[in-house]
């Protein structure tokens, strides 16, 4: 496989309340580097983000078209907590590598469920050798949802293949009541599946197989 360039934003969260703040707003337990989902109180997705723990800061890596909505969502909830947010998207490029490649100093690499997430300053070149079609094939083979395809504001994380990012035992977060109820009552009526072509209502279309959110 290879390296694919993501259309991603990079936000920096500083302050002593940074962990608690992000933990209270997203589905996974934020106590270090992790992937998580920011949801509305109706449990619809605002964005799926990778959180990278670094000294004194947490970085939020998300999908660029969803950036403003996420910023509106989280910034309106800073109520006296020691939290500041800055945007360093213009200074960094973000990639997904399907393999564990060597990276130079100054480049951040973390393993995520999508592959190795690489955040590199714009001055450092990372060779991109994966097309969108190849990235889609990789996602189809590994049942990996992606923003703008399976991960949209119309769905909740349990139906689009992000159930593993919904922590079962953490405390309250926005959207928790609905997600917990869906799980406990067995009302997750759809799920992300890989189906053979041709198919209708595919979210990602591949050469032989496609991804779609279908009845469970």
């Amino acid at each position: 496989m290879g390296v694919f360039a993501l259309d991603a934003y990079v936000l920096i969260v500083k302050g002593s309340d940074r962990y608690k703040f992000l933990d209270g707003l997203s589905t996974n337990k934020v106590d270090g580097t992790c992937s998580t989902v920011f949801t509305t109180k109706n449990a619809k997705i605002i964005d799926m983000a990778d959180i990278i723990e670094m000294p004194e800061i947490l970085a939020i890596i998300g999908h660029c078209p969803y950036k403003n909505k996420l910023i509106d969502h989280i910034s309106s909830r800073i109520l006296g907590q020691d939290v500041t947010i800055s945007d360093v998207s213009d200074a960094n490029n973000v990639y997904i590598s399907t393999n564990d490649i060597e990276v130079s100093d100054g480049v951040t690499k973390v393993e995520t469920f999508r592959g190795f997430l690489i955040v590199a300053p714009t001055r450092i070149d990372i060779t991109v050798d994966m097309t969108l079609e190849e990235f889609s094939e990789y996602r189809i083979q590994n049942l990996i949802p992606h923003q703008g395809y399976e991960i949209t504001e119309k769905v909740n994380p349990l139906v689009c293949g992000l159930g593993h990012l919904v922590h079962e035992a953490k405390g309250c977060y926005i959207g928790q009541e609905i997600l917990v109820r869906m799980r406990s009552r067995g009302r997750i009526n759809k799920k992300l599946v890989c189906v053979k072509n041709p198919t209708s209502n595919a979210t990602t279309v591949g050469r032989i197989h496609s991804l779609k959110i279908d009845r469970a």
Binding site: K41, S76, R77, L79, Q81, T84, A120, C172, I174
Partner: protein, 126 residues
Amino acid sequence: MDCNTCDTAPTILVNAPEVIQVSLTITEKAKEMLQGAFGDDRSHGLLVGVLSGGCSGYMYDLQIVESTEQDCQELNIDGFKVLVPNASSHLLDGIEIDYVDRMMGGGFKINNPNASSSCGCGESFA
């Protein structure tokens, strides 16, 4: 990641809501419970704040404190010192602090006219 830029990157401005001069009420039952908690010592106050999070977006934060570093309004309600952080004053104006007895989970309860909805446990609101 280019963290050299982290220190110099412009902070995203948060549209700070307008600070409102809060008025609130405390029910007789809640006053009884506060009297039991404070006794005759009125050097402490009841901090009524709001934190982000909870199932619905915001959750109440009630603490008995001697002082706080938060920028607060200090109210005197029937002899009780009540501290309300200015940062969350827009969410707390007009609230009623009540106390409910339940077999399980009794305690102080906030009746908030600013809340459009609240979660099942009553600890968070939107």
